[in-house]
């Protein structure tokens, strides 16, 4: 039943990827990372707007979530890439963006923008839930010490909310790495795009799609290990503080312990 599989192609894609593939992998990583960062920033802004005393800000925040959770991501990606420049009459989405270290093409930039804006709508809910999980008494204590609202938020509430935000944020990033494959449809050759192009010239779906599935698994697995370690680090202040540093470090770097917790 596996007779038709060209094992050497699969083997080569898994263990000896060429530089075109490495570039595609790199694109998937940076698109996901930048889009997620943008999502967190937008989500935080939207969450704070949602809690604002000013009515228009609350409405704006609500509209943002309504629109971007209520329409397909692929539609948003197409709209940003093909529509934004025409809509505003200026080149908001340039042909390429020079970051000094590397040059990003306009499509990748548009993809990051669209994925990030979409992600922000989901992050708003996560961040708001995180802030809500912090005991009300914390804000009161901070205020009773003379902190104004923004200082109390920044120094007292948000750092505590982080503990509630990080686990779902990790899951969001896991999703993001997979969803980022959609930017192939505006011409960005990332992991999925690379596989698709190889497939369309060779008609060998099992080898190319199988291999790229493996690489997505590598990405998401590595990320889940990193995630566990971040969560552990955040929990340090709650755990015994007389636990020696060495022991804490060994916890941090033991992958087996990390898996055991899942």
């Amino acid at each position: 039943m596996f007779a038709a599989v060209e094992w050497h192609i699969l083997w080569q894609r898994l263990f000896h990827p060429d530089h075109v593939f490495v570039l595609a992998l790199w694109r998937t990583i940076y698109i996901s990372v930048f889009a997620q960062i943008l999502g967190v920033v937008l989500g935080l802004i939207a969450a704070l707007m949602r809690m604002s005393k000013l009515h228009p800000l609350r409405i704006l925040s609500g509209l943002y979530v309504l629109v971007f959770r209520g329409t397909p991501v692929i539609l948003q990606i197409y709209f940003v890439y093909f529509g934004v420049n025409l809509l505003f009459g200026v080149a908001l989405i340039p042909n390429s963006v020079n970051f000094g270290l590397f040059v990003m093409n306009g499509a990748a930039f548009a993809g990051i923008l669209a994925l990030g804006i979409n992600e922000g709508a989901y992050m708003r809910e996560i961040i708001r839930a995180g802030i809500d999980s912090v005991d009300r008494g914390q804000l009161e204590a901070a205020r009773s010490l003379g902190m104004h609202y923004r200082l109390a938020m920044r120094r007292i509430v948000l750092p505590q909310a982080t503990r509630f935000i990080v686990p779902p944020l990790g899951n969001e990033f896991n999703n993001m790495m997979k969803t980022s494959s959609l930017v192939f449809f505006i011409g960005v050759t990332e992991l999925f795009g690379d596989a698709e192009i190889r497939y369309s010239t060779t008609f060998r779906p099992v080898e190319y799609f199988g291999a790229v599935a493996f690489w997505y698994l590598v990405l998401t697995s590595v990320w889940s290990l990193i995630q566990v370690q971040i969560e552990r680090r955040l929990a340090v202040s709650e755990r015994s503080d007389d636990e020696p540093l060495l022991e804490r470090l060994s916890h941090l770097w033991s992958p087996m312990a990390a898996w055991g917790r899942r």
């Binding site: 005991d135 008494g137 205020r143 010490l145 505590q160």
Partner: protein, 257 residues
Amino acid sequence: MSSNGKVMHAQDVMKRFGRLEVLKGVSLDVAQGEVVCIIGPSGSGKTTFIRCINHLEKIDAGRIEVNGHLIGYRDEDGKLVEDTERNIARQRAEIGMVFQRFNLFPHKTALENVIEAPTHVRGTPKEEAILEGKALLDRVGLADKFDTYPGKLSGGQQQRVAIARALAMNPTLMLFDEPTSALDPEVIGEVLDVMRTLALEMGTTMIVVTHEMGFAREVGNRVVMMDDGRIIEEGSPEHFFTNPTEERTKRFLSKIL
């Protein structure tokens, strides 16, 4: 300090939550160095009242002044307008508050809790704040707990850190909202000891919502009995122990003594 020596002046303070009237006109003056204990059944409005003093609750009518300054509001041609966030924050910095449930910052060590407001509100240099913070923690008997997180401290220790944290801002008035009622009986004493030292040795002006009548008798200059949103009786601790006049007060005291 205001010229007449009054640290806190409250006049006809009214407060409602929705349709529920919690404070129905409360007036109280507290002089420099005085310790006033507020007693009363739950729901009598005593906690709400002291939360109004640092504007954690808005008031619906009346006025509250601390050191001669109106709290939470600006007087614009006889009309009270709520003050700006920054001005209210500045006023709160002068008023220390200790909560029933401590409300320590769990992500910061004992010392970090104490130096947080001096460094970030007052702009005190960190080294200086650390020295003062350590001295304060030493004074409340926690010299060995500087680097301990609140989660690792007992209730009594947490409340003592909370007192040190409030004192770090050099407040002219300290508010205590049932500081011992969330504590195990055996650690109540250590918190009351700290409060006693504050009152007797340092002359701190304090308003204490409490049911600790022993503390009220020994340290308090005055006891105020609240019921149903009003002050119904006021007098020296001795007065309350020997011949309270109101029937409601007698019934209440017979339950808690």
